[in-house]
Symmetry: C2
Subunit: 449 residues, 2 copies
């Protein structure tokens, strides 16, 4: 079967730039290559770009999944000799400048690896199997389904202990994703669920935010962590700092100190790791990420770097004396690296010197709910509350891909704000959790033709 | 496990009205029972109401799935003693006025069966297995995924015959669903795909509409069928009238006259059948629907009807001398019956006479694309073109449930109209078709945690 397929990219005189991954780095690189004399081939296993910072709003019924994703073909639309292929990339052959894919090989003149990150379960298979990730659109949809499945199941229980177990939501990780998700769950509990489930004892519903460090948002300023803590506590989130999780078997979370907590839903937002391509030299990988020089060229051996292979975004780590652990795995870094790499690739083609990448930190923002956000802006400026929230909204709308998405997200936000509603509390496809026979029965019912 | 569950509906003095099914009939019945002195329990296997007339726009990337569905709990929100349970109903015990559900039995004073319709494959299991249905939200999403999977796969084929097979879309059934879907596919082919797939030979893409009768929209006026035929032909739809399909094995459609057609995608819009509840007397069922008198009370035996069991909407057939085959299975009939049944149930409680149901035909509308719709209005008025299209838009927005949905759908329509775009061409969850290894591999890739 496989050999009937063909990558079908025309051979031209122009240098071929292959980009693996349509995330923030890949998409920004593609855009900046527009109008340059190159052939561009973009590979991704999805046919869309995901705006990951808003996935948590999909999970909590605030936004439609299709609003935070944009078709990748739209980005290359009408650019001559720009190609997209939705196909799995298996690895790279650095000696022959070839990429292996599920349907065959393709040669490149330049390669940009922008394969991003994946969930990090720190090697624990049981957690991987039983906890719910928050990285891709289907994950966000699964969580939305499961959240409302738990609520529907709870209405069918008379034993308060069982209700409590169904309605315990543990969010692991006090970074932006965990904090924003916990806040959104707390708002759902406060504004939406009492109307939807008047007979349910929502006092049994617990949102527990677990963080291993001793403050929330440990990557941001101490003040940001403190104010976030105050906001979330007030909203009813049970915050547990300095707590590490050893295991989750689907029913019980076991903490490092030995105590356990019963919960049906554990959301894993405790960290990500690089998702490098196969075929690179072992020495290119450090802590799961691809080591590069400050031109984003991939480390080869000793002091050598590949001239024509770049790594960008979360998967990449610029590792220099001043920067031994690279830049943080953040969307703004990926965006800036994507844009920067376009210039460097063009320079390389015309034998000009490459320019080193310098991350311009424009600050960090996180929101925990309506009128509540915190931000560390450049120049040690700290913002919080309503002002921060408006800036957060504005920045997220601005970076959202595509005008249609901006429009629909804005419409939903206005609606959510004034109605205190979350209109999208639908279980479109039930999430099937192991050892949960009712969800399985439900799912089979749904799949009926 | 099962016996730990409990339906948990409080016992009150008020008469209990149980409604099975949250479609057009069920939802309108619930709404009209608001403020009456009854306890209402609504059962559905989904937690949302689906606006089925717009599903085809979900399949063709014009609308977000969450825009054509509304949470059922929203409808009963804040009405005291109105309850929703998302649980499978197994059957009815008419002797003891009890309903069997997956988690136990519940007694009723009044029962309204509004379980709607399901796809009718006319007993052909192979068609059921291989063709794609268009009835529920997950079906519409599967079709959207598969449509774009086929296009993506086609870019990986160099053999024109294989491309042709991938890009052949056969819509079976020339009723409103088939006509609207074929039109939307034709618009996609014309306005969106050439930009997205510049290197693909879209001349190979065929949209074939098959109808067993000798005209399209056979339930509407002859003029409507003719103009629709003209519209669709002009848009490039290959219409085949008077053709019946015997089988579809996943690769080849076999027609009754023996000829075959190769196609990867066959969409089954050839008809629906009633979806009655188990436990009713055999004599209550006629042609798959539940026979009722003109008060919507279910037929028991001879000339007897159940006093307190009603059937409404698609699943029901009012069968009288003047109306031997009942009203057609249409949304407006269901809406009117739901509203009407509320009045009759209230009358029955207060021992007043019931009122016979009379369907007020407000006309029928169908659209085939931008500025193009046809309608048979009351008083033999026929409309077509732009005027019909504006009326179609207006009527569909009006009947769409929930203000948020109206707002988002309107926003998307305005966007689609002026941009000629369909922004939602995402393969969020790949559709796995049997004997199609690449889709399976894709799906596994997507499900990665």
């Amino acid at each position: 079967m496989k050999n009937e397929f063909n990558i079908n990219i025309p051979e031209t005189e122009k240098p071929r730039v292959i980009i693996v991954g349509g995330g923030f780095a890949g998409v920004n690189l593609v855009r900046k290559l527009k109008g340059k004399n190159v052939q561009v081939v973009l590979f991704d296993r999805y046919n869309y770009h995901t705006f990951q910072p808003l996935l948590y709003q999909v999970s909590t019924a605030g936004l439609e999944p299709d609003s935070v994703a944009g078709p990748l073909r739209k980005i290359i639309e009408s650019i001559p000799d720009f190609h997209f292929r939705m196909i799995k990339v298996l690895g790279v052959d650095t000696k022959n400048n070839k990429l292996h894919t599920l349907v065959g090989d393709i040669e490149f003149d330049f390669l940009a690896i922008a394969t991003g990150a994946r969930m990090n379960y720190f090697g624990n298979e049981e957690i991987m199997k039983n906890a719910m990730p928050m990285k891709q659109l289907p994950h966000a949809l699964d969580l939305r389904s499961y959240l409302f499945q738990q609520l529907e199941q709870a209405t069918l229980k008379s034993n308060p202990d069982e209700v409590k177990q169904l309605l315990t939501f543990i969010v692991v990780g006090g970074g932006p994703t965990g904090v924003e998700l916990a806040g959104a769950l707390a708002e759902l509990k406060r504004h939406v669920l009492p109307k939807d489930y008047p007979t349910l004892d929502l006092a049994q519903m617990r949102i527990i935010l677990v963080e291993g460090m001793n403050s929330l948002l440990p990557q941001m300023s101490a003040k940001a962590g403190k104010i976030t803590h105050k906001y979330l506590s007030k909203m009813g989130v049970d915050i547990r700092l300095g707590q590490l999780i050893n295991n989750y078997d689907g029913n019980y979370v076991t903490f490092k100190d030995g105590h356990t907590l019963q919960a049906q839903t554990v959301i894993w937002a405790a960290g990500v790791k690089g998702n490098p391509l196969e075929g690179l030299p072992v020495e290119s990988i450090y802590k799961g990420r691809i080591v590069t020089n400050e031109y984003n060229q991939v480390f080869k051996s000793d002091n050598e770097y590949f001239n024509n292979i770049f790594a960008l975004g979360d998967v990449a780590m610029i590792r220099t004396k001043d920067l031994p652990e690279g830049y943080p795995m953040l969307a703004p870094v990926a965006i800036q690296q994507g844009r920067h790499a376009a210039r460097n690739i063009v320079n390389a083609i015309s034998n000009k010197n490459l320019k080193p990448f310098r991350y311009v930190n424009k600050g960090a923002l996180a929101t925990v709910g309506r009128n509540k956000a915190i931000g560390d802006l450049p120049g040690n400026i700290f913002i919080a509350g309503f002002v921060g929230w408006v800036i957060w909204l504005f920045v997220h709308l601005m970076y959202l891909i595509g005008f249609r998405n901006k429009l629909v997200v804005f419409t939903n936000w206005v609606w959510n704000y004034f109605s205190y509603d979350r209109g999208i509390r639908l279980i479109v496809r039930p999430y099937v959790k192991q050892n949960d026979p009712l969800t399985k029965e439900l799912a089979e019912e749904y799949l009926e033709k």
